[in-house]
Symmetry: C2
Subunit: 693 residues, 2 copies
């Protein structure tokens, strides 16, 4: 390399730095420390390493880049703008402002080139493992001799915080196990975190830990040594049999007066310090947002290189299409996220004369029927395949073909390779959720993730991000209430339904029987505005006489002539209980309508007319029945209603019928509560100063 | 060792095994696999290693034992019964039955000798780190030359699942950093997890990983080799400068026909296989619950040894008391969990004439005032000290005195040792929560744990367990709504308040100003039926004219003459907004009452009379204002009310005032909504077929 070109590279890097700190200063909010320290590796990636086309950020075979240290967003926006993505300088000047394309942390969907929403630490690194899995899976499924149409890498930039989070360790351990050689993680080790020296809390021998996970690990002693970074990157790419970690010793807030201090992590430098930083860098101007033309021209070279790279791929894809027209059409279909024609043709219908069946078991049958026609449905459980009933039989185990364990107990069968559609997540619920997001973000697959409902708590940070990103992910949560029995309160979810209903854009469905479960899976496959959580029982439930209307979220399941005296509103396993209570009430001369309400959010999204037809506003005697906390049920039972739920306590260890009985989930108790509500209605209204019109 | 004594030991171990599988078989539910495989190490611990007194499971200086692999509860109950804890055989025969002392997973409080509730994997291991921290801290605080009154160890039995969970890795990394030499973890590596061969998903080089965390690691190749286990235990105890991991290669379901298969993990063996197992062991009888007298006598030896050990400690404690009477009294006080007299004497009172102050900052001042008088208050944040305002200034950093980092930026100051009261958790929210539980379980300290409110999601599984165990833990959650501004939706909690309110026995308090924050801390220090979560703002809030009544959960903050036309009910930062709206409504001739409702659960626990006095049932025009999802607010606003909340969406990145305005959190909008509610009341009631009485 000539001295001139080295100088130009240095100028490019300083331009990235200057632009990033100008953004932060202009917003008077944000994180200047990471961009100053990590600009060289950012440059190396975006200008020299990444196979990407700034003119088409959705090109299927692009390399993915994940900024796991999402607080360094200014670095990413700086790189995106300078390498020619459709992110104008004016948007950078609107960093962290209302409606801009440059929010405080990278937000998927808001900004061209942002592959994933990050900020909550560890999540990006875990999602990147999902992207790398998707790449290997689609390569195994679609590539053919002389036709490598899926052939890209996933790069991550992570910080100290990412490396401390458990979800990152779960994901790293699994990535090592799966030998994901296409995954390269740069660890910006700047020895400073938000609250001080990283060493106050974190003194891992990171190299040793990641080698223990099966990774290829290198160190670069000086984060400004571009040649060393480039050599490490080449070696990482060459280590095809293992994911790679490159530990980069960098200086937080490099060249600023606050270099190496935690004060530079998350606060603007101040106008004078920004200038001082530019002077220390030898930057050609102290003017805010000054961009040297030479550097801009050099960095924008990414556009022509990117166009050429995509054009090359497109011509290779055309050749593939000629040789494998069906496969090519299939590839285009899955990448568009379209379901195949007839995807739901084999979904079983269950009959009221069938013997009772747990909704987890019904879910397993439905999932199998869909999976047989939807090859892009892939997923697995957190070491609970026999319990969640989610394994896709014979569809192969997603494992490294190079790996042959001494014992394959629990393997699903079929191919043992990256073509396998069954992922063995191990007891790593959190990473499972984050990896599922990465799978969905990559595109080409529809991921599902299964565990016991109570352990949805472990997945919550990743579920939230999936909802924020509106991703197509299906969560299968089984063992959904105190109905699981003996395992006791640690395993009995009582508050999880309420807690998940609180997450915006997450569709929670708790089906009442096998047919509602089929309906729930239909929603899960077709819903396009966020993830769907299916909440299923361990215990057998009768198949209802009516085929439930899950798509509307709620419907009238059983009714009589005339205006009902009382509404019994229930979800899941408590719906059949409501039906039994209805029979008791009929003997007492009371007309009860049973409403099944498997999904609050779907129901709430219906027109008022429909909702009022199901829950007539003037029927104020209402009882909700759900084996969980009553939180939120007031919306449906109103001021004079009651909730048969679980309040201020957890579950208990005992056989399911005993627990259910002790907690009041019997038809007799439900009927009794309904009678009390009906008889107490006038008094309850009078207490509110009201009477019937 | 003589052949006879070796034979007796073997019989003891087989008795432990037989009793455990009999329990599982009798319940026809449970996990026989781990007890059969891990009985030898269980024997070694309970019969030879643990310093414990079965006659007094609360002896302060006992060694703690944590069964992190909680599904192996039958092993623990077997050990507790056989070594003489007050756990009768009849209770073992009621394994997993309603109201028994032997629930499906170990439940703290249900069973003498059970130190912690476990089952959700990884949690026990993480909690054990908290116990080990508490031991070192109390030793540093109370021990004096020639007086080691705090001098015990923490032992853990963990399984494959524990070692896969991220929370365990977070905790292990921190334990290594802190050089907790008193912590010994036995890893029952049986190569089988619930769903199959562990190797399907988990091929870590565990030794390497834990060495990378700074642990002392040993392997025992045969889990039945008692001599090797004992040697490893001795070596682990001798490695005083590091926590120890002993990897034990064991056989799941040892001696049963299903040995080494995943079928034996979580299902009863069946009557015939139980018999076959006993035959294979050479057990003297196939009768259920047969206990050889010789073995029972041998195992019950733990009682006399335990009594002697405690008596020895008590006599040493008496000597300590003579030499250090004040310290001894203080030790007894903190171990009883009693607050010192005058603990709250310095809590500041804030005045309405003070300038606006963020509740996080007010919380910091209150916490400092309490901490100065309550030396057992210890805790820290997940790398957010400067932001959560929770560091106890000058109270020292809890760090290994042997560890001297190159850079102490961010250290709180004061002593750098195990006497330090400030814990640096790093970016490990989940472990922070589980460790806090361990601190509380150990007794002698009152732990607090701080992070941004949105990251409470990471802590949720551990918070749930703390609530289940009714532990005294204080969570300090700052940056509590979209009011944090520019960091955007990933950092803006909109659903966390609702989601935490769903957890039984967790007291959530979102104070409206500095004085309510002081009231919230009073509750946090004195509440004894579960953890308390304080939800605090990043932004400054005016100090209200009224000193709020947090203890009752809600109260009338502003009212006028006569019956109010409308109730404005708010929490936290939205209370001052309600006051502003009230002024606008007054100009429009409407009497609005403002109710501050910082804690739903505390309010709901008040007598109906009090609640009705705050929220008069006949005032149906009600508006709730909270910068979060409306879930659950219907309970307070009733059938004709409205919620100014955040529905079906997340937050947005922009300066706080801009975000608040766009989301409708302005006095003008609140007033407008109130007017609509008042004016629409009759129509809304008519739609319900109602009118005023």
């Amino acid at each position: 390399m000539t001295e001139a070109s080295a100088r130009l590279e240095r100028l490019c890097i300083d331009t990235i730095r200057a632009l990033a700190i100008d953004m932060v200063q202009n917003a008077n909010s944000g994180h200047p420390g990471l961009p100053l320290g990590a600009a060289p590796v950012g440059y190396l990636l975006f200008a020299r390493t990444l196979k990407h086309n700034p003119a088409n950020p959705r090109w299927p075979d692009r390399d993915r880049f994940v900024l796991s240290a999402g607080h360094g967003s200014a670095l990413l926006y700086s790189l995106l703008h300078l390498t020619g993505y459709d992110l104008p300088l004016d948007e950078l000047k609107r960093f962290r402002q209302w409606g801009s394309e440059t929010p405080g942390h990278p937000e998927f969907g808001d900004t061209p080139g942002v592959e994933v929403t990050t900020g909550p630490l560890g999540q990006g690194l875990a999602a990147s493992v999902g992207m790398a899995i998707a790449e290997r899976h689609l390569a195994a499924r679609f590539n053919r001799p002389r036709h490598a149409v899926v052939d890209h890498r996933t790069y991550v930039l992570a910080g100290d915080g990412d490396l401390m989070e458990g979800v990152a360790h779960e994901a790293a351990s699994l990535a090592g196990h799966l030998r994901l050689g296409r995954l390269v993680c740069f660890y910006d080790s700047n020895h400073i975190s938000l609250a001080g020296a990283t060493a106050l809390a974190f003194t891992d021998d990171v190299k040793r830990v990641f080698e223990g996970y099966g990774w290829h690990v290198q160190s670069v002693q000086d984060g400004n040594d571009l040649a060393a970074l480039a050599r490490a990157t080449d070696a990482a790419k060459a280590a095809a049999d293992r994911p790679s970690l490159v530990v980069i010793r960098s200086e937080i807030g490099y060249a600023s007066p606050k270099q190496g201090t935690f004060g530079v992590h998350g606060s603007p430098l101040g106008v004078e310090q920004v200038k001082a930083t530019k002077r220390a860098l030898g930057y050609p101007s102290e003017e805010p947002f000054f961009l040297p033309e030479q550097a801009v021209t050099c960095l924008r070279g990414a556009v022509s290189r990117g166009k050429a790279a995509e054009a090359d791929w497109r011509s290779r894809f055309e050749a593939y299409k000629r040789d494998h027209p069906d496969l090519a059409a299939e590839f285009e279909r899955v990448m568009r996220g379209e379901l195949p024609a007839g995807w739901d043709a084999d979904i079983p219908a269950f009959s009221a004369s069938d013997k009772p069946i747990a909704t987890r078991a019904a879910g397993g049958r439905v999932e199998s029927a869909i999976a047989a026609r939807v090859p892009e449905l892939v997923g697995g459980s957190a070491d609970l395949n026999p319990s969640t009933d989610t394994a896709i039989k014979g569809a192969g185990d997603f494992e490294s073909p190079e790996f042959s364990p001494p014992d394959r107990q629990g393997a699903v069968g079929g191919e043992w390779s990256y073509a396998g559609r069954n992922l063995h997540y191990g007891v790593r619920e959190h990473a499972m959720a984050a990896i599922s997001s990465g799978l969905a973000l990559h595109a080409g697959v529809i991921p599902f993730a299964a565990t016991f409902f109570t352990f949805s708590d472990y997945m919550r940070p990743a579920i939230r991000l999936a909802a924020l990103m509106r991703l197509h992910v299906v969560y299968v949560f089984t063992h959904d209430s105190i109905g699981l029995g003996e395992d006791g309160p640690t395993h009995q979810p009582v508050e999880q339904a309420a807690a998940l209903r609180a997450i915006p854009r997450l569709t929670v469905i708790r089906p009442a029987d096998a047919n509602e479960t089929a309906g729930a899976w239909r929603v899960a496959m077709t819903h396009r505005d966020g993830p769907v959580a299916l909440v299923l029982t361990r215990q057998a439930l009768p198949v209802l006489a009516v085929k439930g209307d899950v798509a509307h979220g709620g419907y009238v399941l059983a009714d009589g002539e005339g205006r009902p005296d009382v509404l019994l509103i229930a979800t899941g396993s408590e719906v059949s209980l409501a039906l039994e209570a209805r029979a008791i009430l009929a003997e007492r001369g009371l007309r009860a309508r049973v409403v099944s309400l498997p999904s609050w959010s779907l129901f709430d999204a219906q027109p008022r007319e429909y909702r009022d037809s199901v829950l007539p506003p003037d029927v104020l005697a209402r009882v909700a029945i759900e084996a969980g906390v009553p939180l939120g049920w007031e919306r449906y039972v109103g001021p004079a209603g009651a909730v048969v739920g679980i309040e201020n306590r957890f579950g208990a260890s005992a056989p399911l019928k005993v627990v259910m009985e002790h907690y009041g989930f019997t038809a007799a108790n439900v009927a009794q509560r309904a009678i009390e509500v009906v008889e107490g209605l006038a008094a309850r209204l009078a207490a509110l100063g009201l009477r019937k019109a």
